[in-house]
């Protein structure tokens, strides 16, 4: 092994990278675009805030109080609809998927129900049959409508139950498994890091070996003092540098745009190193199995794309049918995803150690196989 040779190779690789716009795009811009697109899509879900248009036909203090209560629980951002407007037409015109209409007579009914006399409840005047009907004008085809209606119903159920004067029978206690509240984007970022490390090291290994072999560069190199070990080590080092660059880019954007809160520690580097070895190893094996550069690149895509979608990089495993979940658990990328989430999201060192050990074993086996299958001399 020669550090001089490895250094020379690294310089050539980095210069090539800096001059190759497509490589720059796929290493840096592509994961950032994914983060921005998915992060924005799921931003609403993270905030738990929906738009709600409310038409208050009662225009009393009590009805205003109800609207305020809806706003205060944080689930809704309220837009007021003028009482004079036809709410259905308004919903159509403004493409609003839900308008809640509070009927006129709301306050009167409330007063009768509670038996308020001069603002003070008086049991003698209470009318248990007094009620109001609120109307939902909604578009059933909109995905968020049913969620909004459900939130409203459960809110109204609490109000109704409170008015019954009886204590509730079933109460719920909520304990989050997480020490703090996490948002979707914070689960997504480690997945994107794992995905970009995989794509850059796997296709990087294929390019380095298959393409340069096919064009004859490796034949020339094999007549110089550079050894196969120097070559492989310098490539791995280069892939590691690229992985760190793309991870930094992803993290900077995630912090700047979405203010994510993630734990960045040595585990991140451990998982990047292991992923580079594992996927670099797979790339080297593919290069040997598929003799031509084009078929090696196609084989790399054939492995990478299903793995990306099946291993839970983009969405949780629970969303997939059982057999796909089983498949996911045999994919190396799944363990990189879970490992990164364990360390970055949950700060769970035990789980991170567990996943890193699994990927470590896999990476060792694949990388050793990769080294042994990489042809250097024209040995035939």
């Amino acid at each position: 092994m020669s550090l001089r040779v490895i250094g020379a190779n690294l310089v050539v690789s980095l210069k090539t990278f800096s001059r190759e716009k497509a490589a720059m795009f796929f290493t840096i811009a592509f994961p950032i675009i994914l983060i921005l697109v998915f992060g924005t899509i799921f931003l609403n879900q993270d905030n738990g805030s929906f738009d709600l248009h409310v038409q208050d036909l009662d225009q009393t203090n009590s009805s205003a109080q109800l609207v305020k209560t809806l706003e205060l629980n944080g689930k809704f951002k309220i837009t007021t609809v003028e009482p004079a407007i036809n709410a259905t037409q308004y919903a159509k015109d403004k493409k609003v998927n839900l308008v809640l209409v509070i009927p006129s007579g709301y306050e009167k009914a409330l007063v009768r129900r509670l038996g308020l006399v001069g603002g003070v409840p008086n049991a003698a005047f209470r009318d248990p049959n007094a009620s109001v009907t609120v109307t939902y004008i909604y578009d059933a085809s909109a995905s968020s409508t049913s969620t909004k209606i459900q939130i409203l119903r459960s809110g109204f159920a609490v109000v109704n139950q409170g008015m019954s004067g009886q204590p509730p029978f079933i109460r719920a206690a909520e304990t989050s498994m997480l020490t703090k509240k996490y948002r979707f984007i914070e689960f997504f970022v480690p997945g994107i890091i794992a995905m970009s490390v995989m794509t850059s090291s796997l296709s990087g290994a294929v390019n380095m070996n298959a393409e340069l072999r096919q064009t004859g560069v490796i034949r020339k190199l094999s007549t110089t003092p550079i050894t196969r070990t120097d070559w492989i080590l310098s490539n791995i080092l280069y892939q590691f540098i690229l992985a760190v660059i793309s991870t930094m880019a992803i993290l900077v954007v995630s912090y700047a745009v979405f203010s994510v809160r993630l734990q960045i520690d040595a585990w991140l580097f451990v998982f990047i190193v292991l992923a580079v070895f594992a996927f670099g190893g797979i790339g080297m094996i593919l290069t040997r199995v598929a003799n031509e550069a084009e078929s090696a690149a196609a084989a790399a895509n054939f492995i990478m794309y299903p793995m990306m979608f099946l291993s839970g990089s983009f969405f949780p495993l629970e969303m997939m049918p059982g057999f796909l979940q089983t498949i996911a658990r045999i994919l190396p990328l799944y363990y990189v995803n879970e490992g990164l989430r364990a360390s970055m999201v949950f700060a769970d060192n035990t789980a991170a150690l567990h996943y890193s050990a699994l990927i470590g074993v896999f990476a060792t086996v694949v990388f050793v196989l990769g080294i042994n299958t990489t042809k250097w001399e024209e040995s035939k």
Partner: protein
């Protein structure tokens, strides 16, 4: 004090098989230190296989090859720093400039004092030193490849088909670089299927066909030995001279341009033919006399052309 061995390369009974295919069939030869040695043969004759075995990047099936006195199968580490190679179909990193590429290969050989500018000048690439490899023409790429083969100031330089696929002008420009290399007194092992290239550059030519060396010597010796005749080409007005020459016992033929071609063994015969035509009042419009070249030698020895379409106008 050590003296340079007489032979830079010694090949004894070298055989290389690929399954059923016998690529190199029990060949033996040697290359003297300081000479330009050309391996001349058509595609698939075994040239590249042989040269790659000598360069240590392939292993022989049997036989021994010694390069600078060292066995190529066991001493790769010692041999590689002392040789320079332009492989067949040479290519390099697309996005790296000419100068950077030379610097990179120099680093691989640990040549801190490599004269990068000198190599750029030798390969006549001064104007292109900042150009990326992918933007170079075929001839420029080959010239860079030759410069790279020299970064470690090697004792033996291997050039595997340095001008294949180049247009005539680019080929001539590469030859200029090779001639300046020859002047430096390096031992050069050249493989080619262009006989002009072998004739121009080589001190010794080995003709290889179907894995066997079928003739070896200096270009002049080979022609002397195998094609010791002259070819007379006559441009005439009518067909009369053809009959005159035929009656004299020669075997004239018409070439594609309706010229008469006659093969003669001695210069005396030339005189006889021209006199006979003069006497018959049928003097030719023009006369051309040529010695055969290596192409003719190859054709005579193997009965096949070095390259497709290369025998036009050649009399066998």
């Amino acid at each position: 004090m050590t003296t340079e061995p007489e032979h830079a390369i010694d090949v004894e009974n070298l055989t290389k098989r690929y399954g059923d295919l016998l690529a190199v069939n029990d060949i033996s030869f040697n290359v003297r230190t300081g000479e330009v040695f050309a391996f001349l043969g058509p595609n698939g004759a075994g040239k590249t296989t042989t040269v790659e075995i000598i360069e240590t990047i392939r292993t022989p099936t049997s036989g021994t090859v010694r390069l600078l006195g060292m066995d190529v199968t066991t001493r790769k580490r010692d041999i590689v720093p002392r040789i320079g190679v332009l492989p067949q179909g040479f290519s390099s990193f697309d996005r790296i400039t000419v100068r950077e590429t030379i610097q990179y290969y120099a680093r691989l050989f640990c040549c801190r004092n490599t004269d990068v500018d000198g190599l750029i000048e030798l390969a006549n690439l001064k104007d292109k030193s900042q150009e990326q490899f992918k933007n170079l023409s075929g001839g420029l790429k080959q010239r860079l490849g030759i410069a790279l083969a020299l970064v470690n100031d090697p004792e033996v330089v291997f050039l595997d088909e340095p001008t294949t696929g180049l247009d005539p002008r680019a080929r001539r420009e590469v030859w200029e670089v090779l001639l300046s290399l020859k002047k430096k007194g390096k031992t050069v092992f050249l493989t080619t299927h262009y006989m002009e290239e072998a004739e121009l550059l080589a001190d010794t030519v080995a003709i290889i066909s179907k894995g066997k060396i079928i003739a070896m010597g200096s270009p002049d010796q080979l022609i002397e030995r195998n094609a010791n005749y002259l070819v007379l080409t006559l441009k005439t007005i009518d067909g009369a001279p053809f009959e005159i020459i035929k009656r004299m016992g020669f075997e004239p033929v018409h070439d594609n341009h309706r010229n008469i071609k006659v093969r003669v063994e001695h210069t005396d015969d030339l005189q006889k033919i021209l006199n006979a035509m003069k006497d018959a009042g049928a003097s030719p419009l023009s006369v051309d006399v040529r010695k055969p070249n290596l192409e003719s030698v190859f054709l005579k020895l193997t009965g096949e052309a070095l390259r497709e379409g290369s025998v036009e106008g050649v009399l066998d």
